[in-house]
């Protein structure tokens, strides 16, 4: 999942012909001022922190400016800030338009129907989650046919737009559909889509590109995401790694087993916080890398819970033993291992030779991990 910052999403929109305010990205207060003085961005203008988390307006990450001096000051204020844990490095500086109604429009996937779905609401400019369901129309679109005229008309009827903005909306819907399709998007959202005079303008963008389609879209590979530093290292190594609050590390294979392990650990008072999914690897070196990564996150104790399928137990055992040999003394952690499934006997033998016991039951293993991490949380 590649979340595009607002300005990157708008660059995509621009390529497909979706109308946008005039504006540009700036990375320093001086650049912002120069952009207003040169007339590149007409005043009054709006400056918005380019961060991936929502709620910028309330959080002070959006400011308005009427003169070049105000522009520079606003830019300085936002560029210095940390917004919900994210350092603000880029601003989108745009003209401030005289807007009328604000609409919502998005395309995403309806998993149950296995169809893309167009969502439209006359209530734009607020979180769509807070809009009443009856105020959102959901129109499934068949991929073999594409967005049909009658589906466009249905969306327009729901919005009740006058002819000018309605005409503009038709074009935007077609273009947004093409963005969704051709960019392999998980989500394309315009909120708000504002009425400006007789037309519509996309005031914000939210575009999420599917990771799995990156082989078709190398252009998105280099875009930063909201990962922690260790998560980024893990991603580069092809390891699924999630870091949250909590002191127990969990190395498992598969999302379901990872979550079940989490459920059991919490049941016994543990606080799991570092998750490492080996997925379907069958390479001992990959397992070793995973353990070394885990060590760098300084867990209080680690639970290795693997059920061998594609990933064989002996592969995991070999990789684990090698990792234990290489972990620096300062990063050592108590370990509880449970390996089952394909090549289980061989895996257990390898562990035993290295002095590691593999427990058989999930319940007893979870209790042991919680104990090793210092007992149940208060």
């Amino acid at each position: 999942m590649v979340k595009l910052a607002e300005w990157r999403g708008k660059e995509v929109f621009r390529r497909y012909g979706i109308p946008l305010p005039r504006g540009r990205v700036v990375r320093s207060p001086e650049e912002a001022r120069a952009a207003s003085e040169s007339g590149d961005v007409p005043l009054p203008g709006v400056l918005k922190a380019q961060v991936l988390t929502g709620g910028r307006g309330k959080g002070g990450a959006v400011r308005f400016a009427a003169t070049p001096a105000e522009v520079e000051e606003a830019a300085r204020g936002i560029l210095g800030m940390e917004f919900k844990g994210e350092q603000v490095r880029e601003l989108l500086f745009e003209e401030k338009l005289a807007i009328g109604r604000e609409l919502y429009v998005a395309l995403t996937l309806d998993r149950s129907q296995r169809l893309p779905v167009l969502m439209v609401s006359p209530h734009g400019g607020m979180e769509i989650e807070s809009v009443d369901a009856s105020e959102i129309v959901r129109i499934p679109i068949h991929p073999f046919v594409g967005l049909s005229g009658y589906e466009r008309r249905r969306a327009l009827r729901f919005l009740g737009l006058p002819p000018g903005p309605a005409k503009s909306m038709e074009g935007i819907l077609d273009r947004l559909w093409r963005v969704f399709l051709h960019e392999d998007a998980e989500l394309v959202e315009i909120n708000p889509l504002a009425v400006v005079g007789d037309s519509l303008v996309a005031l914000d963008s939210k575009v999420i590109i599917e990771d799995d389609a990156s082989f078709r879209h190398p252009e998105y590979a280099e875009i930063p995401d909201d990962r922690t530093a260790l998560e980024e290292v893990a991603r580069e190594k092809g390891i699924a790694f999630v870091q949250l609050e909590g002191n127990i590390g969990v190395i498992a294979n598969g999302a379901g087993l990872t979550m079940a392990t989490l459920d059991v650990l919490q049941q016994f008072g543990g606080r799991p916080g570092i998750f490492l999914d080996l997925g379907g690897t069958d390479n001992p070196a990959q397992v070793t890398e995973a353990f070394l990564l885990m060590a760098r996150a300084h867990p209080t104790a680690v639970f290795l819970n693997v059920f061998g399928g594609v990933t064989r137990c002996d592969t995991v055992a070999t990789g684990l033993v090698e990792a234990m040999r290489r972990v620096p003394a300062a990063e050592r952690f108590p370990l509880v291992a449970r390996i089952r499934g394909n090549n289980e006997a061989e895996g257990i033998r390898i562990l035993q030779e290295a002095g590691i016991t593999s427990l058989r039951q999930l319940e007893e293993s979870a209790r042991a991990v919680v104990a090793a991490a210092g007992g149940p949380a208060a």
């Binding site: 999942m1 996937l109 998993r111 149950s112 296995r114 169809l115 893309p116 989650e129 068949h142 991929p143 073999f144 399709l181 392999d184 998980e186 599917e210 990771d211 799995d212 389609a213 082989f215 078709r216 699924a240 999630v242 949250l244 498992a252 294979n253 598969g254 999302a255 379901g256 087993l257 990872t258 979550m259 079940a260 989490l262 459920d263 059991v264 919490q266 049941q267 998750f275 999914d277 997925g279 379907g280 069958d282 693997v306 059920f307 061998g308 399928g309 594609v310 089952r340 499934g341 394909n342 289980e344 039951q361 999930l362 319940e363």
Partner: protein, 294 residues
């Protein structure tokens, strides 16, 4: 007949010459599956684990009568492999490949519908019916023939649970691993009628996880149309909201798809709920005893 496959299932392996294809061809053969052909472009005329390899699916089907395929080819080529199989007349495809773009899966799913071809997966463990056949990658060691059906969106968690059923001396009829991707060929709702109709299945274990609404829809179906006992487990009760735990299926968004909503729905539909995987075997025993069909 068990669910979807049986002793007359003739399995084709697409991508048989790759590492996973080769390993799991061996495992399927060991399980007793009739793996009759492999297909890898450019490798026609060779063989893998004694199974003849063909350049095209068309040729493999013509020469061996293959009627189900297990797809291991890399994600960028999976769509093509599936279309080739469907066009050659194959009507059951287990897609093991992970990381297939969901836009590709949309095409595959609806093309399969148009042609009457069923997909299990992608990114799934597949189907195993102990004593009969297997198309997929579920470890052989966890099975013993029996009367417990298992349907699941998870991979290794399924193995854990199936293994747990075996450990207490019970056995399985068919285990169906659907995969947890955003677009799956067969969902719980699609799978339930198969188990309902399967005379070998006395009870169904349903293994779900947070995210999406497949479990809620399953509960709705169970309430109205499913007449066998159900034991359900939902993974991810304690997962933090908004973070993905490994794959795309496991994300909670917009207040839907929480463990609570799924558990409540299944409970209301009459399912016995396991809080942890190791509670499942005991609930299965109870349910079988109640139904008097052990």
């Amino acid at each position: 007949m068990s669910v979807l496959i049986d002793t007359d299932t003739r399995v084709l392996v697409q991508g048989i010459t790759g590492h996973q294809g080769t390993v799991h061809t061996r495992n399927m053969l060991d399980f007793g599956a009739r793996v009759v052909a492999g297909a890898t472009p450019g490798k026609g005329g060779t063989s893998v684990e004694g199974v003849p390899v063909f350049d095209t699916v068309e040729e493999a089907v013509a020469r061996t009568g293959a009627n189900a395929t297990c797809i291991f080819v890399p994600a960028p080529f999976a769509r093509d492999a599936f279309v080739e199989a469907v066009d050659a007349g194959v009507r059951l495809a287990v897609i093991v490949t992970e990381h297939i773009p969901f836009h590709d899966m949309l095409t595959m799913y609806h093309y399969g519908r148009l042609k009457g071809a069923r997909i299990i997966g992608p990114n799934c463990p597949g189907i195993a019916a102990p004593g009969r056949s297997k198309v997929g990658i579920i470890p052989n060691v966890v099975f013993r023939p029996g009367r417990v059906g298992v349907v699941s969106r998870s991979g290794t968690l399924t193995y854990e649970i199936v293994s747990g059923i075996k450990d207490v001396g019970l056995g399985q009829s068919t285990c169906l691993g659907l995969g947890g991707d955003p677009v799956v060929g067969t969902s719980f709702v699609d799978a339930l009628p198969l188990f309902e109709e399967d005379p070998e299945t006395s009870l169904l274990v349903l293994v779900g996880e947070i995210g999406g609404s497949a479990e809620e829809e399953a509960a709705e179906y169970i309430r109205h149309h499913f007449h066998k006992p159900v034991v359900a487990y939902i993974a991810g009760r304690s997962a933090p909201p908004g973070k993905r735990m490994g794959h795309a299926g496991a994300i909670i968004a917009r207040g839907r798809g929480t463990a609570e909503s799924k558990i409540a729905a299944l409970q209301a539909a009459g399912a016995r709920i396991a809080r942890f995987p190791y509670e499942i075997p005991e609930l299965v025993r109870e349910a079988l005893a109640d139904a008097g069909t052990r």
